[in-house]
Symmetry: C2
Subunit: 524 residues, 2 copies
Amino acid sequence: MSGKVHIFDSTLRDGSQAQGISFSVHDKLKIAAKLDEMGVSYIEAGNPGSNRKDLEFFTAAREELKLTQAKLCAFGSTRRPGSRVEEDAGLQALVSAGAPVTAIFGKSWDFHVTDIIKTTLEENLAMIKDSIVYLKSLGKEVIFDAEHFFDGYKHNPAYALTVLATARNAGADWLVLCDTNGGTLPLEIYSIVSELSGRHGYTNLGIHCHNDAGTAVANSVLAVQAGARQVQGTFNGFGERCGNANLSSIIADLMLKLGYDCIPADNLKQLSAAYRYISEVSNVIPYEREAYVGYCAFAHKGGMHIDAVNKNSASFEHVPPEAVGNERRILMSEVSGRSTLMAIINKIAPHITRDSEETQRILDKLKDKEYHGYQFEGAEHSLELLARKELGLFQHSFELLDYKVIIEKGNGSGKSPSLAFIKIRVDDMIEEVGVSDEVGPVNALDKALRRALHKFYEAISQMYLADYKVRVIDSDSATQAKVRVMIESTDGVTSWSTVGVSTNIIDASLQALIDSVEYRLINK
Amino acid sequence: MSGKVHIFDSTLRDGSQAQGISFSVHDKLKIAAKLDEMGVSYIEAGNPGSNRKDLEFFTAAREELKLTQAKLCAFGSTRRPGSRVEEDAGLQALVSAGAPVTAIFGKSWDFHVTDIIKTTLEENLAMIKDSIVYLKSLGKEVIFDAEHFFDGYKHNPAYALTVLATARNAGADWLVLCDTNGGTLPLEIYSIVSELSGRHGYTNLGIHCHNDAGTAVANSVLAVQAGARQVQGTFNGFGERCGNANLSSIIADLMLKLGYDCIPADNLKQLSAAYRYISEVSNVIPYEREAYVGYCAFAHKGGMHIDAVNKNSASFEHVPPEAVGNERRILMSEVSGRSTLMAIINKIAPHITRDSEETQRILDKLKDKEYHGYQFEGAEHSLELLARKELGLFQHSFELLDYKVIIEKGNGSGKSPSLAFIKIRVDDMIEEVGVSDEVGPVNALDKALRRALHKFYEAISQMYLADYKVRVIDSDSATQAKVRVMIESTDGVTSWSTVGVSTNIIDASLQALIDSVEYRLINK
C-alpha cells in the first residue's frame, strides 16, 4: 500500500456548473447516497451562499441523508474585501448549511486579487486568515482551496506561497492546489507539487484539476505521486467548461496501478455501475469512451485484437473489466471480420462456417443495412433476426397487414389522445385492434400491437420495454433526416435489443417494436 | 521554438476500430483531404492486408487525392512467422497500396511473441528485420510500430530493447513506442522515453498512446518532452476501446503551451472546425467537453466565473478561444444567476433590471419549464419568446386551431404517405391546409404549417430548418418517455434555435416548429 488518498467529490457543486446539468434536491440526495456507498471521503454538495436550492439540500440532507463513510462539505468563499466575518452574507450562509466540513476558496493569483476582486494583496491575505480562523472557531473542518494556485505560482511564486502559508498558519486542515483554468501541463504540476511537499514541507496538500488541456486525470495522479493526499474532482468528470478531473479514472489509476488506498477495495467492482447511475440521475448520456467505466472501455473491434483477447485477455486489456465492474464486448462490424458474426450465426446454425456462401450473403445484407443507417452494435438481436431470415430459419409469428396512427390536437393545453389501429394476421386469423392513448403515438402503437398479439401469444404479457432511444442520423437535412430507434426489451430475466430506421419516426419505432416481439416469440 | 514534432494521424485506420465508426471510401477521402489541409505530417489511411475496402481507398486516393502537406501511409504487420517476405500476403497487400510511407507493427512484448503469435523470440526479431529491409529495398519510408512497447519494457526490458535495436539496424526511419493497451501512467512513459532518448541515444522516436487509463494526451505530451519527435493518435480521439490519443488536444498543448512546431501556426485557428468536420463525416456526435475544441470548452456557467470573464477573459480561460477557432459561450441556468438572463431580457426590454419583479417572474417560469424537461442552453430563442410572453411583448403571428396527423401503412415495403392537416387563424381569417408527404409526419407538419402561413407572411419562404435533434429525456420509461426536440432554423444570414418537449414526439416537434416560425415573424 502506498498510503491513503482522500477522494473529495464535487459532482454536486462544481459538477453542477457543467452545461446541461440541473440537479433537483432529490437528485442530489440520490447522488450523495451513492457517493457515500462508494466510500469517498468528502462530498461537496453545494454553495449555499450563491444558490438557494443548495441551502434546501443541506436542510433536507440533515433529515434524510445518513452518511456512513463520507463527510458532507459546504462550499463558499473567503469573506468579501472590507467585510467582517460575522456579517459576511456568504460565510453566514456557508455556516448555516450545518455541514461538518467547509471548503472555502481564496485567491492565490495576484492578478485575480488586483484585477478581478479589486482589493489589495494584503487585504486578500487578511480575508483568508480571518475566514479560516472563524470557521475553525466554530469547530469546522476547513479545506482551503487555493484558487488558480498554479497560474499564481507561475506569475508570482512568492505571493502564491504566502497565501498557502497564511492558510496553514490560520489552521486550515487541508490546502488544496487548484488548477482552476485547467491549462497547466503534467510536468509542471508534478514539479510544483514536489517542490511544495519536499522543500516547503507541506503534508496536507490536495489537488483540484480541470480538463482544459485534456490532462486533468494525469495531472491529479502526478500530484499524488508528488505528495498530494487529497484529490478533488467529480465522479463522472462533469464540471465547468471541459469538466473537472474524472474521479472514476483517478480512483482506478491510483488503486489498481499505484497501490493507493482511496475507497474500500471491494467497491472498485461497483465503479462502472456508480458511473452509470450518476449519469442517469444527472440525465447525461454516459460517455462511451470513458476510461475503465465507459460502455466501450473493453470493446474490441479489430480482428487481430479479438483473436488475441480470445487467447488471453491480458493481450489487449490493461486491467480485467471485472476489476471495475465493466464487461468485455466483442463488436460486430466489417473491421472485426467474420468471427463476431460467426458467433451469432452458429448460435442458430452450428454447421455454417466462415467460408460458407450463407455467411457471405449475411455479411452483404448486413453491410447494405449499415449503409442505410442501421447499426447492429447495440442491437444484436435484430442482427440475429436478419441472419435467421437469410438462412430460412425465420418464421413470422404474425404478419402486420395495416397500421394507422392518428394524432389530433385542438388548441389549448388539454391532452388529446393518439389513436393507433393495427391489423395483423396469425395463420389464417385476422385480428384488428384500436387503442387510444394519452402518452403519444409510439406508446399507442406498442399497446395496440401487444393487445392484438395477446390472444395468440401469452408470452407477450411477460415482456416490456426497458429503454427507448432515438438518434437523428443525418441531422443537417432537418425534418427529412433519418432517425434510428433502438429499443431494449426485457422479460425480467433476459434483455434483448432491436433497431429500426426510417425518415418516419413512427415507422422506425414500429420496426424496432416488431423485431422485439418477433425475437421474444422465437425464443419463447 | 522547441523544434518540430511530426503529427501522425490514424483516424482512418486505428480510428476506424472504434465502436460506431464505419467509413466509406468517400468518407475517407474527405477526412484525408481535411487532415492534409490542417498540415499533419502523416495520414495512416488503412490496413490493406486485412480489409478490402482499404485497398479500394488507396486506389481511389491515387486518382482523386492531391496531398500538399501530408504523406499517405499504409499500415500492416511484419511478415508472418516462417514466411518469406516476397510471399507474405499481408506485406504484399501493404506494398500494393502504393503509399510512399509504410507503418508496420512488430511485437516487442515477449509474452505476445510466445503466447499470442506463438513463435520464438528469435524468429520475431527476424520477422522485424526482414520486413523492414524488404520495404526499405522498395524505397518506402518505414515507420516501425513497437507494439506493446511499454508493457514489454516493464516485463522484459532486454528483449524490448533488442527489438528496437533490430528495427533501427534494419533501417527503419522511425521507431514508434506503442502503449497499445493504454494502461501506462504518465510518469512511467516519461521516464522510459527519457531513458531511450538519453542513455540509449535514440533520436527518431515516436509515441502512440491509447486512453485506457484516461491519460493518453498527457502521456503523449510527456513523451515529447522526454524526446519523442513523432506523435501518433487520431484527430478526434477515436479508436479501439477508450480511443487513441486525441491529436486535437495534443497539437494545441504542444504548440500553445510548449512552443513546438506541429502544424502551420495559422491552421490552429481551424482546429475546432476540423474536429467538428471529422465528427460529422464520421457520423459521431462531437464530444462537448473535449479540450480546446468541444462545444463547452469555453462555456461559462458559474455566476462568479461569468462576472470575472466579463472583466478579463484570462481570469477563467487558459487560452483565448479564438486561438483554436472556438467560441466563448455564456450559459443560461439557475447557477449562472441573473446576468445571462438579463442580456436576453434587455435585448427586448432595456428598462428592466435584475431586481425587477418581471425578472423574478421570468426566472420562475424558466425554472418551471426546466423542471418539465425543457432546456434553453441550446435554445436561446425559445427563451426569448418565453420572456416576451411574460412581459406582454409577444403577439402571436397566428393561432393554431387544430392539427391532425395520419400515418398509415399497408403491408409490404412500398412507401405510404403521412398526412398532416393544419388549421390556423391570422386575425379573423382562417386557413386550412392538408399535405401528403412521403418522408414522415414531422416533415408533413412542417410543410403544412409553412403552406398555411405563406399566404399571410412572405418571410416564411426565406427560412428553412438546418438541424433537427431528438433526445429521449427519461429513457427508462421506454415509449412513455418524454422527448425533447431541438430545432435550428436559418434564413441563410442568421440562425435561431428552439425547443419542444412532450411524451408525444409529434407534439414536441410541432412546439419547436411553432416557436421557430414565431421567432422569425417577430424578428422579420
